[in-house]
């Protein structure tokens, strides 16, 4: 499938998206877009609908109504799956549910996209070699006693994010979605993640960055989309607002709720 890298306006666009879980309206008639080579910060309180939005884009959930466009072409939700999404060049790094705890690093790296040998079985050697290369050399993994055979449960929080991000990088996505990637990371690791986000921009790709911590997200984003209770309440370009103003605005939103 040829990916037309440069000749589109929006890598991803959602039109009039509605997602209901039974009676609960998780997403109310949302329109949302990420332009070519743009870093969008997706901000909102818990329950605002950030995760639901991502799940719809990435094929984990099917919406009640609405349209999805990838590279300006409409994508049908029928048969829209995580696998398809990977083929479309969209990768996700989730906060907690990216990796299988008991499984080894090399399995986590390639699961769902296994490299097969001529017998149709997994080429374990190849997968281990590539995982080794990526993690130790490209990402600079220095975890003591960690090898590609280590189960994820033996890795620290930062190391786990490293694996998930490394995986997304390896599979060369045009849109990388980061779901609160700096939670529970040390300062050094946070800096790494932010550098990585800058790298995404520099390499011509796009990113949706979900974050609570304004100090992190403000730095690297081009635009902010603010969700509140399933609706888009505001879309602000970075140059239109300062960090302090953004913080104040978000605070006012949350206090308005408690009234």
């Amino acid at each position: 499938m040829t990916l037309d890298r440069n000749h589109y306006e929006c890598i991803v666009r959602l039109e009039n998206l509605q997602l209901n879980y039974g009676k609960v309206e998780a997403l109310k008639n949302i329109s949302f877009e990420v332009k070519n080579n743009e870093i969008v910060g997706l901000i909102g309180d818990n329950g605002a609908g950030k995760s639901s939005l991502i799940k719809v884009i990435t094929g984990v959930e099917k919406p009640t109504r609405g349209k999805l466009f990838v590279r300006d072409k409409e994508i049908s939700f029928k048969g829209h799956s995580v696998k398809k999404v990977h083929d479309l060049g969209i990768e996700t790094v989730y906060q907690t549910s990216s990796l299988g705890e008991k499984q080894s690093l090399w399995r986590n790296f390639f699961v769902g996209r296994q490299i097969k040998n001529r017998w149709g079985l997994i080429d374990v050697q190849k997968e281990k070699t590539i995982a080794q290369e990526m993690l130790l050399e490209k990402i600079g993994f220095r975890g003591v006693g960690i090898t590609v055979d280590s189960p994820i449960s033996e890795l620290s929080g930062g190391e786990r994010q490293g694996v998930a991000i490394g995986r997304a990088m390896y599979f060369d996505a045009d849109l990388i979605i980061l779901d609160e990637p700096t939670v529970a990371l040390s300062l050094k690791e946070v800096a790494k993640v932010l550098n990585f986000v800058r790298e995404i921009k520099d390499s011509g790709r796009s990113c949706i960055y979900i974050e609570h911590n304004m100090y992190h997200v403000y730095e690297v984003c081009d635009r902010f989309v603010i969700l509140d209770r399933g609706e888009v309440v505001n879309v602000i370009e970075k140059h239109e607002i300062s960090l302090n103003q953004l913080n104040e605005y978000l605070l006012s939103l949350s206090t308005k709720k408690s009234v």
């Binding site: 990435t58 984990v60 799956s81 995580v82 696998k83 999404v85 990977h86 996700t92 989730y94 549910s97 990216s98 990796l99 299988g100 705890e101 008991k102 499984q103 399995r107 699961v111 769902g112 996209r113 296994q114 097969k116 149709g120 079985l121 997994i122 374990v124 003591v144 006693g145 033996e154």
Partner: protein, 351 residues
Amino acid sequence: MQSNDTNAINGAGSGKDPEIRTHIGKWARIEGLPIILVFLGLIGLFMIAAPKTFLGYYIYMSFLSTIPPPLILGLGLTLIIAGGEIDLSFPSIIAFAGFVFAYLFKNYQWTWAAFILTILAGIIIGLINGLIITKIGMPSIIATLSTGFFWTGLTVVFSGGLSYNIAELEKLNIYEFFVHRIGGIFPVQSLWALGIAVILWFVLNRSAFGEHILFMGDNLQVAKVVGINVDRTKIVLFVLMGALSAFAGLLLTIENTTFWATQGSGFLLIVMAAVFIGGTSIFGGQGIIVGTFFGSFIVGSIEAGIVATGIQGFYTRLVVGLVLLVAISFHLFMEKPEKRAILANFFKFHR
């Protein structure tokens, strides 16, 4: 000098004595090693305590003719449990499949056609299990418990509770194919079971399908997120178990050239015991085929060994229970890196 315990707790242990660690580490990596050792130890014990029985070949040949059916069930169950599910309907598949084969042979003299239909019956039962679990969303423990009753009941209804004597099968090719004695003594069904064990090892550990099972058992949410079609994987998994159970029922029925309406009903607990003795965790996410293989042999031989040593029959359950507890505790112990390091420490001290 930094104590090994600190390293052990950090899960690293790469600091002091890497030689010891890799030594133990290398052995610990052989799948199912603890259970192989327990099994050999038990046989050794039996040889000492009951030499008349256990130093001859006959008892082992007898095991190789009676253990394959529960062994095959255990292998299938290992995959199911690794996938985070459970199947309680396999005893009833043993009965139903046995009935299908015996009925078709007795009334129409079908052999190979009966074989195919028997496996097909298992596949259909497994498919029904899978559909109930995925489409209706019933937890597998409840679903398979219920379908188990259903198929057992259906078997009794169809067979009238009667047992079928199919001794005429002995003269036919199909009998030789499945239960021939090589050299007059070696039961060929054990080779079938071995073959299935090898295939299932590759399925679980080297195929994409197997990897999907592992991730599904590890964390369902993660499995969905990494693109695994969870519903399809579950259905295929239960279909596979259905087919394997039917095959096990077939081997049992052909070996005994008899179908009993209640056959298989005693297998539920012993097969599960074999799987857990083998080291597979009830929580899913991993499955130790080699462990189940030797666990089945332990469970299948232990009562015979105990009575042969002259320990009064009343004690056998007691001893089986003890062995189970010890074996599983041992597994849980060995799972944790810090406990493995304590063991390594112990050996170092005694060098």
